[in-house]
Amino acid sequence: MALNNYLAERKQALASTKRPAMIMTHVVCGYPSFDDNWKELEIMQSYGVDLVELQFPFSEPSADGPLFVKANQEAIENGVHVEDCFAFMKKVTDHFSFKVIMMGYYNTVFKTGHKRFLQRLKDAGASGFILPDLPVEEAGELHDIAAELELAPIVLMTPTNSDQRLAQLAEAADGFIYTVARKGVTGSNTDMNSEVSQFIDRCRQHTELPLAVGFGVSEAKDVAFIGQHADIAVIGTAALKAWEHGKEQALSEFFEQLLG
């Protein structure tokens, strides 16, 4: 699959730099506005991020923490539709060199229709999708279509999963695996400690796909920690917080301390 090759190349390229891990960032489509999104993405590109999640706003973002809940809600109130998210995604993938992953909730996909939604994702240049409320038991048909279209279905592994379950999840995954470093919603702090590394190592036993580590990454030492145990550091809430705090300047400063 294209995404697997891309990540393998990027990982190789990493060896010749000081950066400890690949980077995936996150943007909520249309929040605060598509113009703001574009400026955020330009900064992310300038820091050489490898992947960007474009979140399609949903009215019931039950796996998200307060900041993303607000972002989802306000994007919808501002009149952002699924249609706009696809159009924006196309513009982004045409212009930037990082790969784009759609992130959202399953109802957005279900309502559009499995086949139609994935075809549109493909047409918009996406490399894969993350649907945190779609368990693998329910994902069979969607994943089959994704395989045909060469879209990676990104699966989540969590610290509460048994080894048996991790094996089952690995079976369904492609592209990379999103390992959730801790319990809770997006945006809370995670103490990167031995518990987290043990969990990541446990995931590693079940898959050879790159491992992304999400939830609570905000400092350079977090990225260094992830680099020791996994492949991709996921930067979500912390970047949006920086943008809210002081737009371009604050976001650049955030990435500077994180990756500079």
Binding site: S59, V69, Y105, T160, V180, G184
Partner: protein, 430 residues
């Protein structure tokens, strides 16, 4: 031929929750378990514990005894002779879930789940609440069993159901006013899910209605089936026959499925679910998922069912005078029964509800909750057209005392307003 088809389609209670020939947790194409992966093991644990309890006859016995000694079950069935005579049609009977401790059927499910929590060895419970009845019942259960508890309630609902909030807090629960989204029931459910993904180790989510991810629809239906089991015997005793029609309001749909299960195999008994028609048809005006044509199938809040949503799959605003019916989705079991033509769905507007409530108070001295009054309104409408030897049964799922502020507003009661003004002036400025 038609008759034959109808019998073929008949779904028995046993079949509803027997997943041997289908996918576990599915009712037709509705239901399922759509949750973040982090809750997978928690839900598996709950499913296993519930299965054990369901297969253990002593568990149901323990549940029944608890409901008798603590909540006053069995609740009676009352013949509304005055109202029946006044309308001149069918004989109207009412299942008195309002006489439960805490004033509604919600306690049935809550005490049942409380027993399960004890078995699982968890020490903390969380719950969402709309009208506040489920939160009130959960706070009660937590106090009784010695659990820590936190109740999530939309800020809009906190404002319209202060009496229930008052009791929850005084029973030791922390009540959190949820200010996301529409600040109603669905937002409180999202907030519970967020709490649960963080604290699942010691926390059980006491979902209040027969919605959400499997096993909740089955589990809540099972605990609430105590209503229908009692009611069938009672109505046979009181009316000398089975009811021709059974009415229950449907928000999430737990009181309805609870009562309906008692009559599922009685082909001659028609089951009628009464949804919140609010201001009437039209997106955003109501919370009628099945009776009006504004809803479509979607996946949210853990389940696949009918939701009031737009073309993007984002949820619409809903409206009802009754906070407990003001919900975007509906019990997947009931959707299946609706498709099988076993349950008929009707919508009742706010205005009809107020009239039905006034009539019931005046003729019978009963105060049904605004939610339950939806069942009353539809039953009154239909009973009038039925013959005197026919029998209808309404589920009075809760009492209306909690709605005193809302009802007083709806009735424009001047004496009440005067009282509030006076009370307010006694308290003086903050």
């Amino acid at each position: 031929m038609l008759r034959y088809a109808a019998i073929q389609n008949l779904v028995s209670t046993m079949d509803l929750f027997n997943f041997n020939n289908g996918r576990e947790g599915y009712y037709g194409e509705y239901g399922g378990t759509f949750l973040p992966e982090i809750l997978h093991s928690t839900i598996e644990e709950l499913k296993a514990e519930f299965r054990k309890a369901k297969d253990d006859p002593t568990f149901w016995q323990e549940f029944m005894e608890l409901m008798q000694s603590y909540s006053g079950r069995p609740t009676p069935v009352t013949h509304l002779t005055n109202l029946s005579n006044k309308l001149g049609g069918a004989q109207i009977f009412v299942k008195r879930e309002d006489l439960n401790h805490t004033g509604s059927h919600k306690i049935n499910n809550v005490m049942g789940q409380g027993l399960l929590v004890k078995r699982m060895g968890k020490t903390r419970v969380i719950a969402e609440t709309g009208a506040g009845q489920h939160g009130y019942a959960t706070a009660t259960m937590a106090a009784r069993f010695g659990f820590d508890s936190k109740i999530y309630m939309g800020a809009v609902d906190v404002a319209r159901q202060r009496p229930n909030v008052f009791w929850m807090e005084n029973m030791g629960s922390e009540v959190v006013a949820v200010t996301d989204g529409q600040q109603t029931l669905k937002d409180a459910i999202n907030e519970c899910l967020r709490d649960w993904v963080t604290n699942m180790d010691n926390t059980h989510y006491v979902l209040g209605t027969a919605c959400g991810p499997h096993p909740f629809p089955e589990m809540v239906s099972w605990f609430q089936s105590i209503i229908g089991r009692e009611a069938r015997d009672q109505i046979l005793q009181a009316a000398g026959k089975l009811p021709d029609r059974v009415f229950a309001c449907v928000g999430g749909g737990s009181n309805a499925i609870g009562l309906f299960q008692g009559f599922m195999e009685d082909k001659s008994t028609e089951l009628v679910g009464c949804e919140a028609g609010g201001f009437g048809p039209g997106k955003g005006n109501h919370a009628a998922r099945l009776a009006y044509k504004d809803a479509s199938v979607g996946v949210a809040q853990g389940m696949k069912t009918y939701f009031l949503q737009n073309d993007d799959g984002n949820m619409l605003h809903t409206h009802s005078v009754a906070a407990g019916l003001d919900y975007i989705g509906v019990n997947p079991v009931l959707v299946h029964l609706w498709e099988q033509e076993r349950v008929r769905f009707e919508a009742v507007t706010d205005a009809q509800v107020t009239e039905a409530l006034k009539l019931t108070m005046r003729t019978e001295g009963l105060i049904p909750a605004l939610e339950s009054s939806h069942g009353f309104a539809q039953a009154i409408l239909e009973a009038e057209q039925m013959s005197k030897d026919e029998v209808v049964l309404i589920n009075m799922s809760g009492r209306g005392d909690k709605d005193i502020f809302t009802i007083a507003d709806a009735l424009g009661d001047e004496h009440w307003k005067q009282f509030i003004r006076q009370k307010s002036s006694e308290y003086g400025p903050e």
